[in-house]
Symmetry: C2
Subunit: 208 residues, 2 copies
Amino acid sequence: MMNKGVLAVVSGFSGAGKGTLMKALLEQYDNYALSISATTRSPRPGEEDGRDYFFVSRERFEEMIEAGQLIEYAQYVKNYYGTPREYVTSQMEAGKDVILEIEIQGALNIKRQFPQALLLFVMPPSAAELRHRLTSRGTEPEEVIENRLKRALEEAEGIENYDYILINDKVEECVRQMHQLIQDHHSRTCNQEDFIKKMRTELQQINQ
Amino acid sequence: MMNKGVLAVVSGFSGAGKGTLMKALLEQYDNYALSISATTRSPRPGEEDGRDYFFVSRERFEEMIEAGQLIEYAQYVKNYYGTPREYVTSQMEAGKDVILEIEIQGALNIKRQFPQALLLFVMPPSAAELRHRLTSRGTEPEEVIENRLKRALEEAEGIENYDYILINDKVEECVRQMHQLIQDHHSRTCNQEDFIKKMRTELQQINQ
């Protein structure tokens, strides 16, 4: 029986180390496909179309909304961000586990459309460590760091909507655990519907 | 931060190999405590009080019900069966992961009282394999085997109430997966309330 892929949504505080985790996960295991968001904002230096985002015009984005081509979308600071449906569903059909890195509101929208999705929230081991990580990048002004810490406090209010908390203390260990949680999700009852159906049919036959 | 143990409920068709799995799990890992049921039925040859069951009188059992000393109980064929509360809660407090091997109705009762419990359902890879396992024991008359297959068909109706399906093809592999699922359950959001609370407090302080 061919197993379909599962859908894993990864959120977490800015500074929790999501980017590093995702990179390591995709490098170490070959069963994952990372969903790429579409956006109407302009590319920043170093960003590539089709790698970091699909950069599209406002008109194109609104066409995609109309045509139901996005699983979820939201608007931030006058720009649209959304998840193209076709890539997610085709990769899952092909047996790939699809990873979506997305903030909390998007995650909840995904969950409404894909109740069988796995929602993971990445956190540093402490708030002090979060501040340390944000500061030690050395690239951002104090004001930006303060804003991220404030945002983390807001995001912390919605954590109960997630299935699992991943504490990113050591990256190696956290990647291994993320992989394990996603692989275990294949055994989740909602992802075993085909097997359950097969077993019921067989039991009916054997009981005749 | 001291981690409390989790509560794992294991059900499955008679013949799926639950007994072998539980034995292997308890032998291979030392963080588990197996909950023992209380019953009013008489011990069968080879059964030991305090190992297989706590064998109690009907009067004692009804006292335990009255005093709220059972997490769940049910009556089958004139006998009571129930799960003593004190052992389960004290072992979890001590950090042990408590395993409860119980049939579906009991499992649902547990879930109502411990919504954070993990519900696992063990199945053989096919109905033919189930019949093979039941038959190859060579100890039971055909009628008993037919009844077990009939009961499996009934139980299959309630599988969606469980969190995970464990397909017991190779015991080694299935034990490893059972251990993994139970350990992952510690990271489940509902089992990380203390950590989330700590993080929120820290974030509030850091944002002041």
